[in-house]
């Protein structure tokens, strides 16, 4: 972003990478896949690079409002400084915070989740997949992210993206409004769960495996971690993949 600003250029959209997308090895692959898609369709985007910092979502949800607002104010100052108008992010938690919680603190942007952007690109015919893509006819199940679904009523966009693969989309018993959480939301990602009978991600992974799908599609870096851990726990990593929507599209397009 700084480079473009120095050249006096404004990008169409800011890609908010997020902490997971920047630091988590698995999520970084999603970031790269999404960037490849953006480049392939010729969207002029920018990233904040080292000027990006945590949105503050986990701090706020763990109760540390001071820390959240410090983060939010700093990010808003940076983005307002660059005149950011539109943001896309592959993280539903960043998406929710940027879209719903930054306006009250002076950050007003048009924020879209990458599933919505991908859906638009498919609808506009800018992303076309060949009939012989590697996912055609394969069984895929989609795990709803709470922060996309219930939190922001985005249930269809990820499914439209998956339908473009011409795969066999199978739903879990608990999906859409009753979709079961992966267990990572509300800052649970950053601590061990409380004592119980079972870990939430195991419960959810079992449900996903019951569909017989060979790919579990996710749209959130935290869900990615939780479902991956679940699949490993069930010793199914040889047969079942956990993949983000962007990775599936990039792979199907051979990017």
């Amino acid at each position: 972003m700084a480079d473009l600003a120095a050249k006096g250029e404004t990008p169409e959209i800011l890609f908010w990478v997020g902490c997971a997308g920047s630091f988590d090895d698995r999520a970084k692959r999603v970031t790269v896949a999404f960037v490849k898609i953006l480049n392939s369709v010729g969207i002029r985007f920018a990233v904040l690079g080292t000027e990006e910092t945590c949105t503050g979502d986990p701090a706020r949800r763990a109760g540390n409002e001071f820390l959240f607002q410090m983060q939010a104010m700093n990010n808003i100052q940076v983005m307002n400084g660059y005149g950011v108008k539109k943001i896309v992010t592959a993280c539903p938690h960043c998406f929710n915070t940027l879209k719903n919680e930054y306006p009250e603190l002076g950050g007003n942007y048009e924020v879209v989740h990458h599933s919505t952007l991908l859906q638009e690109l498919i609808d506009q015919g800018k992303i076309k997949l060949s009939d012989s893509n590697s996912f055609k006819g394969k069984k895929i199940t989609y795990h709803d992210s709470c922060y996309l679904g219930r939190a922001n009523n985005i249930y269809e966009a990820p499914r439209v993206v998956l339908e473009a693969l011409d795969a066999d989309l199978v739903e879990m018993k608990r999906c859409r409004t009753t979709g079961l959480c992966c267990g990572a939301g509300g800052a649970q990602m950053f601590k061990e769960p409380e004592a119980g009978r079972k870990d939430i991600n195991i419960e959810r992974t079992e449900e996903a495996l019951q569909t017989g799908a060979t790919t579990i599609a996710v749209a959130c870096p935290f869900c990615m971690t939780m479902m991956n851990d679940g699949v490993k726990n069930k010793e199914k990593e040889g047969q079942v993949n956990v993949k983000d929507l962007a990775e599936l599209i990039a792979e199907a397009k051979g990017l």
């Binding site: 902490c19 920047s22 630091f23 970084k28 970031t31 790269v32 960037v35 690079g49 080292t50 990006e52 910092t53 945590c54 503050g56 986990p58 701090a59 706020r60 949800r61 763990a62 109760g63 540390n64 409002e65 001071f66 820390l67 607002q69 410090m70 983060q71 104010m73 700093n74 929710n96 879209k99 719903n100 919680e101 009250e104 603190l105 709470c146 922060y147 219930r150 939190a151 922001n152 009753t178 079961l180 959480c181 267990g183 939301g185 509300g186 800052a187 649970q188 990602m189 950053f190 601590k191 061990e192 769960p193 409380e194 004592a195 119980g196 009978r197 079972k198 939430i200 419960e203 959810r204």
Partner: protein, 437 residues
């Protein structure tokens, strides 16, 4: 003699009214302990929620079977109230079937409609008793469903069954009396109660009058007593659900309420222009330790909860055996309000009784297990938001006590020093681009 009955009726009405008024005042005071917060969002949207969700039962129908039987009771309750209105007029004026002359041939039709609804309510209550006590539907067996909540549910259903049986008894005796005494308005045979008349035809008129009057008094006194009971019971949802859907949050569920106090603080720390607080504002606690730190909307919601447990049955933490139960959060808030209110009414210490909502009613283990997934909020048929309360309690824990779980404190530290929740140097944030082949 007739006057004695009318006076007694008026007195009963007055006594019930007095008890109800006392309870309404008590509940209002309890809710007023909470923080008054402006009601945000368009009024039209709020009314839409009242119409669709409360009147229209929209969210109930996410589970068809209980929704169907609940609808029978709900419609029965709404419509049979018209008959109760006639009961009240008859009781006060000493008349019998006051509306009959005005409605003419419509009256027997109405009476039949009421009978159908009475039987529908009766059947639905039996089904619900069966679900709770024989099928033992899981959400009614959770840890918080101990003695009183269980008894409360059983009492409500039983009372409703008995009251509906009284209506049928009145009508049956009345139909036999219609053949013997001109005082009894002709209704013609009524669909269900006419089936009971053969059993009553052998009885002499005096006995029948006693049965008819007895059932009539039993029914109306029962209803008055039940109405008083409701104000002490989870059944209060029949009124509070309407209020709660009106006041329910309109923003997307992912949104967490902002804390303007913190905004002012943070802005002044960053050297940004700060709007001055209104002078009357007394800085309270950060987050919530007790009910007076919660919003009045949250407190009111606790009185709207009928303990159906749909929230808890959808909660991922609860489903995997953690202590958290969103229903219990609402029940605890109500219990705390009742305890504080009762103490204040006796001139006791109220909030200063050495107990707190967080710690004495709700444990940290419960609130820390929440994934903020909004399943409970989505599930609630009357739009209660247990998540809002959980997050306020967490705010107190984090900001006032600094007693968040250790790993959360480390996460806070990482964000403060590395601007990411993990311990990676901030300068590495853009390294992913190097792998962008």
């Amino acid at each position: 003699m007739a006057y004695v009955q009318q006076i007694f009726f008026a007195l009963s009405l007055g006594v019930a009214g007095w008890f109800i008024a006392q309870r309404v005042r008590f509940i209002r005071k309890n809710i007023a302990l909470g923080k008054s917060e402006p009601v945000a969002g368009p009024t039209g949207e709020r009314w839409k929620n009242v119409v669709l969700v409360a009147f229209g039962q929209k969210k109930m129908f996410k589970r068809f079977l209980p929704a169907f039987f609940h609808l029978l009771i709900y419609v029965g309750f709404m419509v049979i109230n018209l008959e109760v209105l006639e009961f009240v007029i008859d009781g006060l004026a000493g008349t019998h079937r006051f509306f009959a002359p005005y409605l003419g041939s419509v009256y027997p039709i109405l009476m039949n409609v009421f009978e159908f609804l009475a039987v529908a309510v009766l059947v639905a209550c039996v089904v619900f008793l069966f679900r709770r006590n024989v099928l033992k539907v899981q959400r009614f067996q959770s840890a918080e469903m101990t003695r009183w909540p269980r008894l409360d549910a059983t009492l409500i259903l039983t009372i409703e069954i008995v009251l509906m049986m009284a209506i049928l008894t009145i009508n049956a005796a009345d139909q036999v009396l219609q053949t013997r005494d001109a005082h009894y308005t002709q209704t013609g045979p009524l669909f269900f109660s006419s089936g009971l008349t053969p059993a009553l035809e052998q009885l002499n008129t005096a006995t029948l009058v006693v049965i008819e009057r007895g059932a009539w008094w039993f029914h109306i006194l029962g209803i008055l007593g039940f109405t008083v009971y409701i104000t002490y019971s989870k059944h209060l949802h029949i009124f509070m659900a309407f209020l709660n859907t009106y006041y329910a949050k309109l923003q997307p569920k992912g949104h967490i309420n902002n804390m303007p106090v913190v905004t002012r603080e943070v802005k002044s720390m960053l050297g940004l222009p700060v709007e001055q607080p209104t002078p009357s504002e007394v800085p309270g606690r950060f987050g919530a330790k007790d009910i007076n730190d919660l919003s009045r909307t949250s407190l009111m919601a606790a009185y709207a909860c009928t303990e159906c447990g749909r929230c808890t049955s959808e909660c991922p933490a609860n489903q995997t055996g953690k202590k958290l139960s969103p229903r219990k959060i609402m029940m605890d808030v109500r219990d705390r309000m009742e305890d504080v209110g009762a103490s204040l009414a006796k001139g006791g210490p109220g909030l200063n009784d050495g107990k707190f909502l967080l710690g004495d009613y709700i444990s940290k283990e419960e609130i820390n297990a929440c994934t903020s997934c909004n399943a409970c909020v989505e599930a609630c048929p009357v739009m209660i938001n247990p998540l809002e309360i959980i997050l306020e309690l967490r705010r107190y824990q984090s900001m006032e006590e600094s007693s968040a779980p250790g790993q959360w404190n480390s996460m806070f530290q990482n964000i403060e020093t590395n601007f990411a929740p993990w311990k990676f140097p901030a300068s590495d944030r853009f390294n992913w681009a190097k792998t962008n082949a």
